[in-house]
C-alpha cells in the first residue's frame, strides 16, 4: 500500500512573527523555517504504519520553491522512501496546491493521502479537505488514532463533543491532529541517508494543473498590542476591576 504524505515548509514555531511594515504579509526572509509540525505528525504516522507492515511505500510530497527541498529531506530522514517536489516559486493559491497534490496522488495510484490538519503559517485547514473533494474520496480529518486494515481505515477524530470514530474506504484522505503521535527524533545517520534518496521534480504544468487566481490578500496587520496589566492586592479589588471593565 502506497501512502502520499504532504509536507509544507512553514516558518518555525519558535519564530516571533513580524508583520512587514507595508502590511503586505509577514517577514519570511532570513527567518528559520521547518516542516509544519502537523505534517511531522502525519509523517510519523505513515512511518509507524510502515513499520507495522500496513504501508509498503511512503512518498513525501511538497509544493513550493527550491528551499522546500530541505523539508523533503527532513521527510526522507523520517523514513519516506522517495519524494516529489512540485517546484513552483512565488505565492501559491491553496486551491492550486490542492489540485497539484490531487493530480500527483492520482498519478501515483496511492491509497492514503496523509497531511497535517492545518499548517501553522496560514492555519487555513483546507488542503486535505480540498484534495478529497477534487478526487471525490472519503476524508477523515483531525485524526487522533489511525488503523489501516485491508482496504479500510478506522480513524478516531477529536471533535468538540468528544471522540468520533469513522470507517472510511481506501483510497482516502487522512489529516493528523496534535495528539495522534509524538514524532521521533531524527537521527544523524538517517539525516545523512536522506541525502541519497531520490526526489522527483514536477511542476504544475507537468501535472496538468493551471494555477488559478483565487484568494487575494489585501492587508496583513499585527494583532492589537496587549495593554499594560494592573496588579491588584485583594480579591475585592479584582472583582471591582472586572466589574469596571464590564466583564462580570
Amino acid at each position: 500500500m502506497k501512502a502520499l504524505v504532504s509536507v509544507k515548509r512553514a516558518v518555525d514555531y519558535n519564530v516571533r512573527i513580524q508583520v512587514k511594515p507595508d502590511g503586505s504579509g509577514v517577514v519570511t526572509e532570513g527567518v528559520k523555517h521547518s516542516m509544519n509540525p502537523f505534517d511531522e505528525i502525519a509523517m510519523e504516522e505513515a512511518v509507524r504504519l510502515k513499520e507495522k507492515g500496513k504501508i509498503t511505500e511512503i512518498i513525501a510530497i511538497t509544493v513550493g520553491g527550491a528551499k522546500n527541498e530541505e523539508t523533503l529531506r527532513s521527510a526522507l530522514a523520517f523514513g519516506a522512501d522517495r519524494a516529489i517536489h512540485i517546484k513552483e516559486e512565488g505565492e501559491i493559491q491553496p486551491l492550486t496546491a490542492a489540485k497539484a497534490l490531487a493530480a500527483a496522488f492520482k498519478k501515483e495510484g496511492a491509497q492514503v493521502f496523509f497531511a497535517g490538519k492545518q499548517a501553522i503559517d496560514d492555519d487555513a485547514n483546507q488542503t486535505g479537505q480540498m484534495v478529497a473533494s477534487l478526487l471525490d474520496l472519503p476524508q477523515a480529518t483531525f485524526a487522533s488514532k489511525v488503523e489501516l486494515d485491508g482496504n479500510k481505515a478506522t480513524v478516531t477524530r477529536e471533535v468538540d463533543a468528544g471522540l468520533e470514530t469513522l470507517e472510511v474506504d481506501l483510497p482516502a484522505v487522512i489529516t493528523a491532529d496534535l495528539r495522534l503521535n509524538e514524532p521521533r527524533y531524527l537521527k544523524l545517520p538517517d539525516i545523512m541517508k536522506a541525502k541519497k534518496k531520490p526526489i522527483d521534480v514536477q511542476s504544475f504544468s507537468s501535472l496538468g494543473v493551471t494555477p488559478g487566481a483565487g484568494l487575494k490578500t489585501t492587508k496583513t496587520s499585527a494583532p492589537p498590542k496587549r495593554s499594560k496589566g494592573i496588579v491588584v492586592k485583594t480579591v475585592d479589588e479584582l472583582v471591582a476591576a472586572l466589574k469596571g471593565k464590564g466583564l462580570l
Binding site: S34, K187, L188, I191
Partner: protein, 381 residues
C-alpha cells in the same frame, strides 16, 4: 544567532533542531528536581540514546554514530547547555571521557562488552583518574594494580569522579609499573566488583551530577579488562585530551551565551526609574562587552575545532582556547548576575546556577595553571 557559516551546514542545523527539541522536552523541565535529587535518572540515558544523542562521534563498531567533524559535538554541547545546567552535561555525558580510550585502543571484546551498552543508554560509564593525593599530576598517581594470575588486584582510591555513584563501568587509571607516566595503565572496573566502595561528594555546582570518591580494597579485575597495552595508559588518556578540552570550551561558550541571552531578555523587560533597564547606556555597554567576548570565544572555538577535525594537533591552541573560553565565561556570568541584580542571586535563576558552575570549568579537564604551563612548553618557552 543563525548565520551562514563555513563550519556549520544544513546537517549540523538539522541535528541542532533535534537536540533542541530533546533538551526542551526531556531535560529543561526537570532540572530543578534533579538538582535537588543530586543526580539524573538512568532513564534519561536511555531516552538520549533513543534520540541519537549519546552516540555522536563514537565509532560505529562500538555502537556509535560517526560524524565527519567535531562540530556535531559542539552543537550538542551548545544545545544541552540551553538547559542552564552544567551538571546535566557532566552526568549524562560522562561516557564522553570514559569511553574514548576503550574505543581508541581497547580490544573488540571490551568495546562490545562496555562501550556498546553505554552507547545504548543501558549502562553508565565514568572516568577515574584523579586521586585524593592530586589531580593535576596524573603521571604520579598512586592506585596500584598488582598482577595475580589472570587478574589485577587493585588497591587505592579515586576522587571527584563524575557519575561515580551511579557508574556501572569505571575506566580507571592504575599503576602497573614503575614511577612516572610509563607505569600507568587503564583498566575497566565493573561497579559491582567486591572491594569497591563509594561515597558521594557535596558540591558548589553541578549538583545534579553525582560525584564520588571511590575506594578499592583488593578489587580483583580480569587482565582482559586492560585497555590497550600495559603501562601505555598515559598515552590512551592523552589521546582524548584535545577533544575533551574543546568540548569544555564549547560548554563554557554555550553557558556564556545563555548568560548573555538571559541578561538581554531581563534588561529589556525589567523597568527601573520608569524605563526599561536596557535604555541605560551603562547596561547596553555591558551587553556589548559580553557579546564582544562571546564573539571572540566563538571564533576561536570554531577555528580550533576545525583544525582538530582536520587532523591537526594544535595542543597549545587548545589549551589557550580552554582558558580563554572558561575565563570569558567567568567574566560574562559575573556581568549577567550584575544586570539581574537581586533576581540573579536567587536559586532557580539560570544565571545564578551558571555563575556557581564557572569555577569547575577552570579546574577540571586540565586546570587554568596546568593549561598555561602546557601551552608554554608547546610554544617552546
Amino acid at each position: 544567532m543563525t548565520y551562514a557559516s563555513p563550519f556549520y551546514d544544513k546537517d549540523h542545523e538539522e541535528f541542532r533542531a533535534q537536540a533542541r527539541r530533546f533538551v526542551e522536552k526531556e531535560i529543561s523541565p526537570n532540572i530543578e528536581a534533579w538538582e535537588t535529587a543530586g543526580s539524573i535518572p538512568r532513564e534519561l540515558h536511555q531516552k538520549a540514546a533513543e534520540a541519537g544523542m549519546l552516540q555522536v562521534g563514537f565509532p560505529e563498531r562500538c555502537g556509535g554514530i560517526e560524524v565527519p567533524d567535531l562540530f556535531y559535538g559542539v552543537v550538542l554541547t551548545e544545545e544541552l547547555a540551553r538547559s542552564g545546567s552544567g551538571g546535566v552535561i557532566a552526568g549524562l555525558m560522562s561516557h564522553g571521557i570514559a569511553l574514548p580510550p576503550i574505543c581508541h585502543v581497547g580490544s573488540p571484546e571490551l568495546q562490545a562488552r562496555y562501550a556498546r551498552p553505554v552507547l545504548e543508554g543501558r549502562k553508565i560509564a565514568a572516568l577515574a583518574i584523579t586521586e585524593p593525593g592530586g589531580g593535576s599530576d596524573v603521571a604520579n598517581l598512586k592506585t596500584r594494580a598488582e598482577r595475580d594470575g589472570d587478574h589485577y588486584v587493585v588497591n587505592g582510591s579515586k576522587t571527584f569522579i563524575t557519575s561515580g555513584m551511579r557508574a556501572d563501568y569505571l575506566t580507571c587509571a592504575v599503576r602497573t609499573g614503575g614511577a612516572g607516566m610509563g607505569g600507568v595503565s587503564l583498566v575497566v572496573i565493573e561497579g559491582d566488583t567486591p572491594g569497591l566502595s563509594r561515597t558521594p561528594l557535596d558540591k558548589m555546582g553541578w549538583r545534579c551530577s553525582d560525584t564520588a570518591t571511590l575506594y578499592f580494597d583488593n578489587c580483583r579485575v580480569p587482565v582482559a579488562n586492560l585497555v590497550g597495552r600495559e603501562n601505555q595508559g598515559f598515552m590512551a588518556i592523552m589521546l582524548n585530551f584535545n577533544q575533551e578540552r574543546i568540548m569544555l570550551a564549547a560548554q563554557a561558550y554555550a553557558f556564556a551565551k545563555v548568560c548573555y541571552d538571559e541578561a538581554m531578555d531581563y534588561a529589556r523587560s525589567r523597568e527601573t526609574f520608569g524605563k526599561a533597564l536596557i535604555r541605560n547606556q551603562v547596561i547596553r555597554h555591558k551587553l556589548v562587552d559580553m557579546r564582544m567576548r562571546l564573539e571572540a570565544v566563538k571564533a576561536n572555538l570554531d577555528l580550533v575545532t576545525w583544525r582538530v577535525s582536520n587532523r591537526q594537533i594544535p595542543i597549545a591552541e587548545v589549551c589557550m582556547l580552554k582558558n580563554f573560553a572558561c575565563t570569558s565565561l567567568e567574566w560574562i556570568a559575573n556581568e549577567a548576575m550584575q544586570v539581574f541584580g537581586g533576581a540573579g542571586y536567587l536559586r532557580g535563576a539560570k544565571v545564578e546556577r551558571i555563575y556557581r558552575e564557572t569555577k569547575v570549568l577552570t579546574i577540571g579537564g586540565g586546570s587554568l595553571e596546568i593549561m598555561k604551563d602546557l601551552a608554554a612548553k608547546q610554544l617552546g618557552m
